[in-house]
């Protein structure tokens, strides 16, 4: 475990350093350069790096909590529609604020009202989608959870929220549609405001600490309801805390970068392969892996953008790499470690 934690930490730091040192230079046309940046460029890259690390860690942690909640290794905030719910809530928020103020909001955080920005609607959206998913996924007779039904409910919620977002997008002014389009695919920006990063970092730290504190309870919650009850775990309380933490983590990631798929699915699997399913170890490793992977994915997105001379959403990179990787892992795994 210690070796794994040290190795993953080193990998994360190297990924961060690589990300800081790589980027386009505009001195002689747009070319990719390698070297430690200074001044404004360093500031912009640091912001983007922090955003990617917070979003990656949040998604990974959220994935672990949701997989535990559903006792299903296929659960993640994207599949279950939590990301979709949060994104839709933000879209509605932008739309309503835009209608009211006639203002131009190119990116979600420009619609900062009440000093809370859009993190509150994102949380409500994620929690609303999770509540729908749990309600639809319950067996009607006994009221117990049916994981397969829940995943199907999540897929349908994702589809509906996706359709509604495209619908709302069509009502927005043309200059705004392109930005929203990027946001819908998951986009990490170097102009993410500092307060949003601070809210994200604090939320992540709180949820991470909370998760670690209840790690042994989460281990027992992986068993059936009757076993968990007989071993001394209140499933009602555990589910509620798990539900709130995973919704908050999804809200953080969506508020910063929009819906990003596969990170919440892949990172728990990689972590289980490294340290097994015990949450005392898993919850230490998984957020670090999530941060590493998203920092690398964002680096790839920036490199691609330099080559293509056009911004590339990081969600496209995670889907293109994460999807096939997940299929490979699925085929080569006997049990879900």
């Amino acid at each position: 475990m210690r070796y794994a934690a040290v190795l993953v930490s080193i990998a994360m730091l190297l990924a961060m350093l690589l990300s800081l040192c790589t980027g386009p230079s505009f001195d002689h046309g747009v070319v990719l350069t390698l070297g430690f940046p200074t001044g404004q460029i360093l500031h912009l890259r640091l912001v983007r790096l922090a955003a990617a690390a917070i979003v990656g860690a949040s998604l990974s942690l959220s994935g672990i909590l949701l997989q535990n909640l559903l006792r299903n290794p296929l659960a993640d905030p994207y599949v279950l529609g939590l990301s979709g719910g949060a994104s839709l809530a933000i879209m509605v928020w932008i739309f309503l604020i835009g209608l009211e103020s006639q203002a131009v909001h190119l990116l979600p955080w420009e619609s900062d009202v009440l000093g809370m920005g859009h993190t509150a609607p994102a949380f409500l959206g994620a929690a609303g989608a999770a509540a729908c998913c749990f309600w639809l996924g319950r067996r009607t007779r006994t009221g117990s959870m049916d994981p397969v039904r829940m995943i199907l409910a999540g897929v349908i919620i994702s589809t509906i929220t996706g359709a509604l977002m495209i619908l709302i997008n069509s009502f927005l002014p043309a200059y705004q549609q392109n930005h929203v389009y990027f946001y819908l695919f998951g986009y990490i920006s170097e102009i993410t405001p500092a307060w949003l990063l601070l809210v994200g970092a604090l939320g992540l730290a709180g949820a991470w600490g909370g998760g670690l504190f209840m790690a042994r309870t989460l281990n027992i919650a992986s068993l059936s309801d009757i076993e968990a009850a007989s071993l001394g775990v209140s499933m009602q309380k555990t589910r509620l805390i798990n539900f709130l933490l995973s919704s908050a983590l999804t809200a953080i990631s969506v508020a910063i970068a929009g819906p990003i798929g596969f990170v919440g699915l892949i990172c728990p699997h990689i972590s289980r392969r490294l340290v097994g399913p015990d949450h005392r170890r898993l919850l230490v490793i998984a957020p670090l892996i999530g941060a590493t992977l998203l920092v690398l994915a964002d680096l790839l997105a920036r490199i691609s953008a330099t080559w293509l001379n056009h911004p590339v959403p990081v969600g496209v990179i995670t889907a293109l790499i994460g999807g096939p990787l997940f299929l490979y892992m699925m085929r080569n795994t006997t049990g879900w470690r």
Binding site: T142, F213, N219, I226, S230, L231, G232, G276, T334, G335
Partner: protein, 272 residues
């Protein structure tokens, strides 16, 4: 187990767990009605009944998974409904019919979960030495020591069942509920389990065994409770309950008791 001797002393009045007029329903469908039962320390009670008669729901009520819609359950004369979850787990343990685990825990990790009730909020820390010793002993008694580092998903059903038994032993409670514990076990392990249950019963443990195996009920039980459509159809000593008339009513088939030993032969002819 180490402190099982204390089990028999810890139940004033000699009743380990008592159910008084317990009712339970899922939404509007009643599952259990008017269940009044008591289980004593040092006794093994078998609960029998056809599928859907409410046996497993009864186990769920006794471990606090379900809350009765009527009546009350007391453990050692304390109401179960208001008891904190960890305290409840110090009194009652359960061996489930089938352990459902979606993730690859090792046998050792699963058995260690039996000590969750005693360790407070020590998440993330190593278990105390006494807990480590209890886990080792439980695995030895259940015959799964050699599987300690194996993944649960790689084991056969019978081995998984024995891991559940080891976890119950590690939990070390005065009341033990076993839901079909012999269903996946081969003959040798069935006999070993019955010997083990006999040993912990002698130490003052109250055992509730939910089973379809009438031969086990006849040979090992001190009392038998027969459930039928959510109600108690009969209860008493094995000889009183396991008779042609009661079994015909409860299961809808005819069974013949063999004279020499208390064994049963299933008669193909349906009861009238």
């Amino acid at each position: 187990m180490a402190d099982s001797k204390a089990h028999s002393d810890s139940s004033p009045g000699g009743i380990a767990i008592a159910l008084q007029d317990v009712q339970f329903a899922y939404a509007t469908a009643p599952v259990l009605c008017d269940i009044t039962l008591s289980f004593r320390p040092g006794e093994l009670t078998c609960v029998i009944g056809p599928n859907g008669s409410g046996k497993s729901t009864l186990a769920g009520l006794m471990v606090g998974l379900h809350t009765p819609t009527g009546g009350r359950i007391e453990v050692m004369h304390a109401p179960l409904a208001t008891m904190p979850h960890r305290q409840r787990a110090r009194w009652i343990s359960l061996v489930p019919q089938r352990s459902l685990c979606s993730f690859d825990f090792t046998v050792m990790e699963l058995v260690a979960m039996g000590r969750y009730h005693g360790t407070g909020a020590t998440d993330g820390r190593r278990l105390p030495a006494a807990d480590e010793a209890a886990i080792e002993e439980a695995m030895r008694l259940a015959g799964v020591s050699h599987l300690a580092n194996r993944l649960i998903t790689e084991l056969s059903m019978g081995e998984q069942q024995r891991v559940g038994i080891a976890r119950m032993l590690a939990q070390d409670t005065p009341v033990v509920i076993l839901d079909e514990p012999t269903a996946s076990l081969d003959l040798q392990h069935q006999l070993e389990l019955m010997d083990l249950l006999e040993a912990i019963k002698k130490q003052g443990c109250c055992l509730v065994l939910i089973t379809h195996d009438l031969n086990i009920a006849a040979q090992c039980a001190d009392n038998v409770v027969a459930l039928h459509q959510g109600r108690i159809a009969a209860r008493g000593k094995p000889a009183e309950v396991l008779c042609d008339k009661v079994l015909g009513e409860v299961f809808g088939v005819r069974l013949q008791a063999r004279g020499d030993t208390m064994g049963f032969v299933l008669n193909r002819k349906s009861a009238d």
